[in-house]
Subunit: 435 residues, 2 copies
């Protein structure tokens, strides 16, 4: 009889106080006190405590069905418990899990956690991180669609790298040399000629040998490209609105996940502060005494600059603009001088820093064929090797620009996850090809 | 002055009759009659005729800005034309396009069309196909999210094939052997243990040497997996509702694209007809005299069976159920006999036929560890090689099932595109790695 009940989710229990419900889920934890058995049932929406007697509890992670009465219980997680009237094992675990799912913590044996990822990913915090990422990606898409963007799907098997020849994974493509795409850069630019405004959500691949806490060899890239712009300010404006939408959505859908992870959802200012790169380098040196190496910002400079904007403007975000040409790829649009001539030193490229780390590179791209060929020559690249890329610029490409956000890096930074690998279900790194 | 106008899209023109608007877009076609110049401007929303005098028209595909007055003009495409008051070339094409975009047809020199895909993809019909696909994918996601599904992102770099060892593209992964994923099958099953209901939209890879009109070596797979089911009927019910939502959305958003392509959007019955495979084979033989080879349905049988259901029930869709084990992979859930024992011959796998072609394979999967190990043994597979897959079934996986839809194949079939390669922006086939 009771098994004909419609399934109730644990988060819906408050609506059913005093009534009999049917729950389905996994045995998250269990305790047998002789006469009384407790089990914590985990379903997609949360966990709830169930109490019964005379039950043979199966191993943790077994999937089960509980029919019982909902009672308010201030000390139980969620404030309710279910008094078991009927209990059924749907699918019994045949072995204890290699680690106890409710007792895991991210910082304990991280490699072991990844080795057993097929079950450790069921942990509440692990799941929360992936749920936040799914919502973040959904908000990204919904916002862009509302601004007239079209989603595209571009090849990941390519004949050459978009960002140059380094860090490519080789593929044997029916005996031909091919590579995994590092970025949809050139394809999204081509598609601006079709849909004017495009985005893509897809994996990209970087064969970087070094292991850091902020890089993955396979990651989900949230790519945007926008045509008929005036300059990179239009692109930053779009990203500003987009981030606002994403954070608003996370507030609506993921408050519990942020609470579980002890993280806060940032407010996105209506106008994210901007600072030119040269000024930013100077500020970090003058205010914090940090000498910045290289041509752009080093990780410490990124951290200090973010600190400055958090303290002075209460902003977790800052755009660093006007990157030098030496720190940007050949397709970055140069700044123009007042007379319209090309400034050979500075580009219209920008980075977006969030809580001390770069989460986006973006900018205006070169759309003029002659300017592009000049740029290729000055970067000492071979025009033949880029022909597939340059061809389309003969056909009236409008001014355009865009950016890319690494979904895992943004998720990790939002949630305070120290290593980006834990913001991906099944990460790939230098040594890890499984699970 | 007028350049300070906000941009208007061509599809918005009817709202602006008699007013001055600013359009931006590409020169789709042009004609110079001496005193008068006509140009057809193409933007993301459509095309419109613009008329002016004394203009120097740039090459086709140049991007341009037109300011002018909107006038009703029954013979012009869309019923309106713009009388040019101000004209500006935003970015001039530097060469004529290799083919004339407005005069292309899919069936003329298809290889040439693909060679020059970076510009031929701008064609109205080419763009319409990709627009329909983008809407179809968006509707797929929105429907599943509304039914409580979570989007996942699983690895495409894998250590072994999910469907067996054949047809895999090898990757050099830091000197280790790895492959491009054929399917997210095992990962989506694992993730049922986390989110219960999951989906993924991502490219998959098949190293099939043969060139057919229905296969791609890289395609966009719309993957679904659903836990806590009773049997495959729950999965077919979901797919039935999902297709209903998708077609409803296409009616709302893509009517113009279907009209342009001379295609009609199918009605999805509230209950798509189902027929068991053995019965389907018999029907095709008895009604049409077609002897069906192999263990399942051959392409001619698929065509005839679809014809039968179109004629007798007015349905463009039919589920073929209870596939024999010999035609299904090891993870397909067997049918159970009345006493609960395993039927060694028949599975709970199904295909969905649409207008004469299979667009989905799906079914219930084995969730019981012992049953899975038995199945692996009876398929003469090595259990060691599948350990990464089988491990998770020790931990209480609930009954589950799912399916996958090839986005390009469904798009092509919906639109009457004869070759699936034209339903992808940049297709990969046996010989084609560029553009």
């Amino acid at each position: 009889m009771t098994s004909q009940l419609k399934r109730t989710l644990t988060r819906e229990l408050p609506q059913f106080e005093g009534q009999t419900v049917k729950l389905q889920g996994f045995v998250h934890a269990r305790r047998d006190l002789g006469g009384v058995q407790f089990l914590v049932l985990r379903d997609v929406s949360g966990v709830t405590q169930c109490v019964g007697s005379g039950l043979q509890l199966p191993l943790a992670e077994s999937s089960v069905e509980v029919v019982g009465k909902v009672k308010a219980h201030p000390k139980a997680p969620g404030g309710f418990e279910v008094q078991i009237e009927d209990f059924r094992v749907i699918s019994a675990a045949t072995e204890p899990t290699p680690v106890e799912i409710p007792k895991m913590e991210w910082n304990v044996n991280p490699e072991t956690m990844l080795d057993y990822r097929v079950v450790t990913v069921r942990g509440l915090k692990e799941r929360a991180a992936l749920k936040v990422q799914a919502e973040l990606v959904a908000a990204f898409r919904d916002h862009l669609r509302a601004e007239g963007f079209t989603e595209i799907s571009t090849p990941k098997i390519v004949s050459a790298g978009a960002e140059g020849g380094a860090n490519l994974f080789p593929i044997d493509y029916f005996g031909q040399n091919a590579y995994l795409a590092q970025s949809p850069q050139l394809y999204k630019q081509i598609m601006v000629g079709v849909f004017e405004r495009v985005f893509e959500v897809a994996a990209v691949y970087r064969a970087e040998e070094h292991a850091t806490s902020r890089h993955l060899n396979e990651y989900l890239s949230l790519d945007v490209e926008m045509g008929f712009i005036d300059d990179e300010e239009d692109v930053m404006g779009l990203e500003n609105r987009l981030l606002g939408s994403i954070m608003e959505r996370l507030k609506q859908t993921c408050a519990a996940e942020f609470e579980l992870l002890g993280a806060t959802i940032p407010d996105v200012p209506a106008h994210i502060p901007r600072i030119e790169l040269m000024e930013a380098r100077q500020l970090v040196t003058e205010k914090y005494g940090h000498q910045v190496g290289g041509k752009d910002l080093d990780p410490e400079a990124e951290r200090l600059l973010s600190q400055h904007y958090a303290e002075t403007e209460g902003s977790d975000f800052v755009f660093v603009t006007k990157y030098p040409r030496a720190a940007r790829p050949f397709y970055a649009h140069p700044e123009l001088n007042a007379d319209g001539s090309v400034n050979g030193e500075v580009t219209r490229g920008f980075d977006l820093l969030f809580r001390g780390i770069e989460i986006t590179s973006g900018g205006q791209r070169i759309h003029d064929y002659a300017m592009l060929m000049d740029s290729i020559a000055s970067y000492k690249l071979k025009p033949e090797s880029l022909e597939g890329y340059t061809e389309v610029f003969k056909y009236g490409m409008p001014p355009h620009g865009g950016f890319a956000i690494g979904a895992e890096r943004l998720t990790a930074k939002l949630l305070g996850i120290a290593n980006v690998r834990y913001a991906r279900a099944f990460p790939r790194d230098r040594h890890r090809l499984t699970p």
